[in-house]
Symmetry: C2
Subunit: 360 residues, 2 copies
């Protein structure tokens, strides 16, 4: 696979078109398992790296150079928009902290709609540089948190404390939570539009904490905000054709609802059988779903897990990825084995997917 | 409902027989949300309370006295057998720590099969006293961790670090993990037999961390150990008729497998729709499944959640419970509202369950 083919390959996978092999990348691929990442983080804070395009470009490209992954995802954090909306934000490798979380309608008035080009201009500049650095031939991914997951941080202030505060808001003040989700969805739509305008080939929405909700709650709160976000995003002609990837963790009970969000690609964890997902939603491309713990070794289990994942989809309409972020203690050679095994995994004879959004 | 009826009611619910109302209790009902529990814990450590029958009896009875719950569950911890097998154990309200976890076959030889009557005699004595204190008319529940969940603690040493170590063992040394699960299953079977012999009406197995596994891994490791445990438990004539309740958290993707473990009652969290579970497994009684966050208030949402849960099963073959342990910050009056709402929830006209184990 030459460098030139990577963007075509990725878009073909998102659209369920014939591919020679699956594209491969890893969530959190720019991360602590890489010595060159640790070297930069030894000198700069997480937020400094996010906000300094030269540094963000460098760490975004590290896994591409070292492992030959098939996408470059921009280095950032899902709470960058929260800060742009006016909330103080502290980030570390141990997770984000919002010292003044949103707990009331009065708190909500502290949030303002932000202009992504000016207030998160560093991210747009990083994306533009990444496109230039890769000659526009490698897919560059933008991303954001899904409204529910962002709201979890905004309301809880941190995730270590569990989800009791936001659920209490859901039960006691559903209108407040809905107003917050609306606000996040609207700002996220514009934020992702700006990322696509800056050169992002596709965007991923992280709904990491969706799995905490009962399905009725997901349907009443998280899903409408997701749908609105994706609809508003696509209302921008510049964003209409960019694939939207929706990642959910531990959300087996929500998938029938989650597919209604309107994403092009569903990114799943190891709790979902990819063969079953392909059968149930033949019109959707799938991303995933190897357990990041598999990458702790041994090598033959990594290769077996990769082959099993690709065999379950046949390879078409499949972007190989992990089910969650790569673990900091992963040996680099194991990450490389994952990528290589994915790029070499045999792909079954192509059959058209039932119906893609492009056909609509 | 008079006191005398509680044991009959509970056993009827476990067997899917006609009931006037659902029995109600709460996981971790003897816990920090109760001021009288905190008063005891201010003077004694968690392990001291577990190992001192007078104290364990007192805290086990507190929720029965205060809230009128329909079962008394013995106050203990799922790692008591780990200590009895020879592992050092430190417990706090923040979770257990095993300073010398099991990581190798050599570590496995440090574990010994234990005699529950002598080495965990304090628990059996607590059970006998609880039966006496309640005149044998309230169901007294024993419990243990399921093999996979216990093994998570034995291998990880603590749960805060995640599950990378035990999964690495699963991939790299499956024989070691299987030997460990076998050992835990065998000892747990005898431990539960002793609890039933000491007067436990039923026993609950906690497979709290099952949901971390992919279904193929659950089928290959956790499920065989569960099946063996339940089979060995029932090989004891004293234990044959005591209902076995299997609790799983965040395990929607595993339920089709979990029902094969052979338990009489499946205890589910809010991620599972009870109506769907009843439809799919009409021969199983169900326990659950209100989100403990609902109990943070408001009152009308607690009552609505209870009525919705009971409506989904119709009430027969249903033990109302939470989907996970009651939260320490729960107001006592809300816990009481949950119990009362459950005890007053209307029950639909009885129809026989498809087939119960008793019919086999």
């Amino acid at each position: 696979m030459t460098v030139e083919d990577r963007k075509t390959l990725f878009l073909s996978a998102c659209r369920g078109e014939p591919v020679e092999r699956v594209p491969v990348w890893m969530m959190r691929q720019a991360g602590r398992y890489l010595p060159e990442y640790r070297a930069i983080r030894a000198k700069y804070s997480f937020l400094d790296v996010c906000k300094t395009p030269e540094l963000a470009v460098e760490v975004s490209l590290q896994p591409y150079r070292r492992l030959g992954v098939d996408t470059v995802i921009v280095f950032s954090d899902i709470l960058i928009p929260a800060e742009a909306m006016g909330l103080a934000l502290e980030l570390s490798d141990h997770g984000p902290v919002l010292p003044a979380p949103v707990r009331s309608f009065a708190d909500l008035t502290r949030l303002h709609d932000f202009d992504p080009e000016t207030e998160t201009g560093f991210l747009m500049e990083t994306l533009r540089q990444l496109v230039r650095e890769t000659d526009g031939r490698v897919p560059v991914l933008g991303f954001a948190g899904a409204p529910w997951t962002v709201a979890c941080y905004l309301v809880e202030g941190q995730t270590k404390a569990g989800f009791a505060t936001i659920k209490q808001m859901l039960y006691a003040e559903p209108g407040l939570l809905q107003a917050l989700l609306d606000r996040v969805a609207r700002n996220t739509a514009r934020y992702l539009q700006a990322q696509i305008a800056a050169g992002a080939t596709a965007v991923q929405l992280f709904d990491t904490w969706a799995g905490e909700l009962a399905r009725e709650e997901f349907d009443a709160f998280a899903l409408p905000a997701l749908r609105r976000l994706i609809e508003e995003l696509r209302a921008d002609p510049r964003a209409r054709t960019a694939p939207v990837i929706l990642y959910l963790k531990a959300a087996h009970h929500l998938l029938e609802s989650a597919v209604q969000a309107g994403a092009d690609v569903l990114s799943l964890d190891w709790r979902v059988d990819l063969a079953e997902a392909r059968q149930r939603w033949p019109h959707l491309a799938l991303q995933g779903n190897v357990d990041p713990c598999v990458l702790l070794g041994p090598r033959e289990k990594i290769e077996a897990a990769v082959r099993a994942a690709v065999a379950k989809t046949g390879g078409a309409g499949h972007i190989l990825n992990l089910g969650h972020g790569i673990l900091p203690q992963t040996p680099v050679e194991n990450a490389l084995a994952f990528v290589r095994a994915g790029q070499q995994a045999p792909v079954a004879a192509w059959t058209p997917m039932a119906r893609s959004r492009a056909d609509v």
